[in-house]
Amino acid sequence: MSTFYFIAFLSIFFSILVISAKNPVHSILYLILTFFTFTIHYILMNAQFLAIVNFIVYMGAILVLFLYTLMLINLNKESEPVKPFMVKLAAVFGAGILMVALVSSLKSLGASAPVVLTNPNLGLVKNLGKVLFNEFLLPFEVSSVLLLSAMVGAVLLATKDSKEPKATI
């Protein structure tokens, strides 16, 4: 039980560091740590498939893509742009109001039942695969079309500029 609170504290701590770090590279590294704590949350809930997918897809693919883009965009020369103080104050105030609203609406629920794992193999690959390929077969196929279109779109967007000078020349 205390493991959850310790990991939850680490999640909040690292996610605050993500948005407050000056250097964008540090920000990405803190985001990797945040996602690692999320993986531990999934393991604690015995959602092993999601833990592995979160580890591979988020920490392995998406954040490497972020780092790669950040290295591609050379930010070393110019300093990080900073908003004026009043805008920062308004941003913190607005997000704080959102947090207070969410937490206070949660308080009105009262005590809740604990999260108990009734079916121990709920989050295992075997069980999730059966559900995925029986009930969710159509969304699974549609998501392949989505990934294909995203790949084509990303290639088209990223290579647009190199084609135009060739056309003018």
Binding site: S15, A47, L65, M99, S143
Partner: protein, 109 residues
Amino acid sequence: MNSVANTIQAVPLNHYILLSAIIFSIGVMGVLLRRNAIVIFMSVELMLNSVNLLLTAFSVYRGDAAGQVFVFFIMALAAAEVAVGLAIIVMIYRNTNSIDINVLNRLKW
């Protein structure tokens, strides 16, 4: 794995909702606070992940595997979104030589 699963037995559902709400608010704060487009994008990822965690907690709470399949779809969607979004950011950088979103306040150049 049973010993690991037993450790969460006493955590109320409200605390999972509280954790997700706090991390979601931190993501909103990051979007409002920063001007670097990549950091704003990372804050959006943080919000997506907090919702993923909450969906998994509800799925375990109800004993329904559909919630975890839904999280899997959200992860596939996030991968597609990141690829397109980072391509757009690279294109913006080529056109304006900066990834400060204040340059784009009129959305024309």
